[in-house]
């Protein structure tokens, strides 16, 4: 009989597969994980504390740096919270620009996930394909906002910049191109037997667990909960588009993979309709005072980010700075289930399980 000794192993904080500065202390017995303890906080910048001394518009750039793979949704959640409190309604053209920007961001974010996830488990080339398409999206968003990742694009009551000439056409042309590429992704990876045996039945949990652990996004939908805030609690102009919520039943990494890839398709559908309905002209910013002072009180709003439910809580005392600002960061909540998933798992599955949760450390640490 082979005798093994328990060993303590550090994964990270600097490890490429943790996608940021994230440390995982695991106790292993041979190849089996006995216990896993996540250690976070390496990237904590105190956004919420900083925000207490800033005016609302000044906070927007800080939100870019939380979930830096989908900064548009972060921009939106803050603006949405302030707008809800102050009763500001953004003009139509601005809302369309916001939705197009957010959905492009969602696709880009899922592409990064897809590429890096496969890279994590040993397939190098999908990463290159994913980043080729992502680069196109980033270039488009760059033309729109002037930045590649930290957009600082949205404002309370609208957006900062109008779409440059020909930009809507570019988005229009991107949709069929992306569809074709997505087909290629499926041919390249989805049917691959090695890939399937790496992810099928790995890191699975039940619907009850997912709800109990406050999971959201694809992590929740992979267990059969048909829940997407864009549909269930419509915000912005999402009620004007026809799209589905991709759902799977198995709750494993394979189900999450499918949910995310299908979400790209749904986002493409939204983009297609948004481009078609895009208003010819009109203002891109509502008439809002230079210094925004939401009324006294508190508000909590939540929207659907690529990683799940991102929320923003504002307590205002009627001044130009928030009294208390809190972001509900989906990665932070989603990561909680990790120790439970890893317990008793094989060492080789660690990265497969961690990767499938899809975390951004900037968001975990806030």
């Amino acid at each position: 009989m082979i005798r093994t000794e328990e060993m303590l192993l550090n994964v990270g904080p600097q490890h490429p597969s943790t996608h940021g500065v994230f440390r995982l202390v695991i106790k292993i017995d041979g190849e089996i994980i006995k216990e896993a303890t996540p250690v976070i906080g390496y990237l904590h910048r105190g956004t919420e504390k900083l925000a207490e001394d800033l005016q609302y518009t000044q906070i927007i750039p800080y939100t870019d740096r939380m979930d830096y793979l989908a900064a548009m949704t972060n921009n939106y959640v803050l603006c949405h919270a302030v707008e809800t409190m102050a009763g500001i309604i953004a003009p139509d053209r601005a809302e369309y620009l916001r939705v197009i920007a957010m959905e492009l961001g969602r696709i880009a974010s899922h592409l990064v996930w897809w590429g890096t996830y496969l890279l994590d488990i040993g397939a190098t080339s999908p990463f290159l394909y994913a980043f080729r398409e992502r680069e196109m999206i980033i270039n488009m968003l760059n033309e729109l906002s002037g930045a590649r990742l930290t957009f600082n694009y949205m404002r309370v009551g609208g957006v900062k910049w109008d779409a440059p000439e020909g930009w809507i056409q570019k988005v229009h042309d991107f949709v069929p191109y992306m569809r074709e590429q997505l087909e290629g992704y499926h041919q390249l990876v989805t049917g691959n037997e090695i890939f399937m045996s790496r992810v099928k039945g790995i890191g699975s949990y039940t619907k009850e667990d997912a709800i109990n652990y406050s999971l959201s996004g694809a992590n929740l939908r992979c267990t059969g909960v048909k829940w997407d805030l864009r549909k269930n609690e419509p915000y912005s102009i999402y009620d004007r588009f026809d799209f589905d919520i991709p759902v799977r039943q198995d709750g494993d990494a394979w189900a999450r993979y499918h949910c995310r890839l299908e979400e790209i398709e749904e986002s493409l559908k939204i983009l297609e309709q948004a481009v078609e309905q895009f208003p010819q002209d009109g203002p891109i910013l509502a008439k809002v005072p230079k210094i925004i002072k939401p009324p006294k009180g508190e508000s909590f709003v939540r929207i659907e980010s690529p990683r799940g439910e991102i929320g923003c809580y504002i307590a205002s005392n009627g001044k130009k700075e928030p009294y208390r600002l809190k972001f509900r960061r989906p990665s932070f909540y989603n990561l909680q289930i990790l120790p439970k998933l890893l317990k008793g798992e094989n060492m080789a599955n660690l990265i497969t399980i961690l990767g499938a949760i899809d975390i951004v450390l900037g968001e975990v640490d806030g």
Binding site: H44, G87, N212, S214, V225, P289, S299, R324, Q336
Partner: protein, 203 residues
């Protein structure tokens, strides 16, 4: 001639200025109107009956004077809001989760806030079975910053409670592993408190 022209120009400018001022006044009036609107909207919120149901259910099971307050938060998309007392907070949460009429199975958000006179914990719950949401709040005395943990009810409250403890110093009794999750155990003070002063040995 030159003088006349100058006068004309001055008159023109003055007229323009007056126009601009009038426009600004109009704008001001318009914005004032916007501000008045909430008062006009005094009709009951569409969510009022939902709040009444919650309060009724709580009173039926736990008795009266369990809640400190209950209201519709107009600023937060008309969410029914319940304010519990520190000693009833856990009981209310338990009822919210296990009562079939309420069945709040999903904890969407938990955080705290320092309001100088007291601290608050804000919990946003959602029920997938009933498709309804509720905000549960509790006010805690600054002299005794302790409330029961919700982790036994919702596993998802684990890290958010750690975060609240880390940044505000609210202790959650019964939490399985209450630790300073973001800043680390050696950090001095609680940064999100309004009276926080950064501690730096080098300064």
């Amino acid at each position: 001639m030159a003088e006349e022209k100058g006068l004309e120009q001055l008159k023109k400018e003055a007229a323009e200025k007056a126009k601009a001022a009038a426009a600004a006044r109009e704008k001001g009036a318009a914005s004032a109107k916007v501000k008045e609107e909430p008062a006009e909207k005094a009709k009951p919120s569409p969510n009022q009956h939902i709040l009444d149901k919650y309060v009724q259910e709580i009173e039926n099971h736990l008795g009266k004077e369990i809640l400190e307050d209950s209201y519709i938060n107009r600023l937060s998309k008309d969410i029914p809001t319940l304010v519990a007392k520190p000693d009833t907070y856990r009981k209310v949460a338990e009822l919210l989760k296990y009562n079939e009429q309420l069945a709040f199975d999903y904890l969407s958000e938990l955080h705290g806030g320092d309001f100088e006179t007291h601290m608050e914990v804000y919990v946003h719950l959602y029920s997938f079975t009933n498709q309804q949401a509720v905000a549960l709040k509790v006010k805690i005395e600054r002299s005794n910053l302790e409330i029961p943990s919700l982790v036994p009810l919702w596993e998802g409250a684990n890290w958010p409670e750690c975060e609240t403890y880390d940044l505000l110093g609210i202790r959650f009794t019964g939490h399985p592993d209450l630790k300073r999750i973001l800043l680390g155990e050696e950090w001095i003070g609680y940064p999100l408190r309004k009276d926080y002063e950064p501690y730096d040995v080098e300064v």
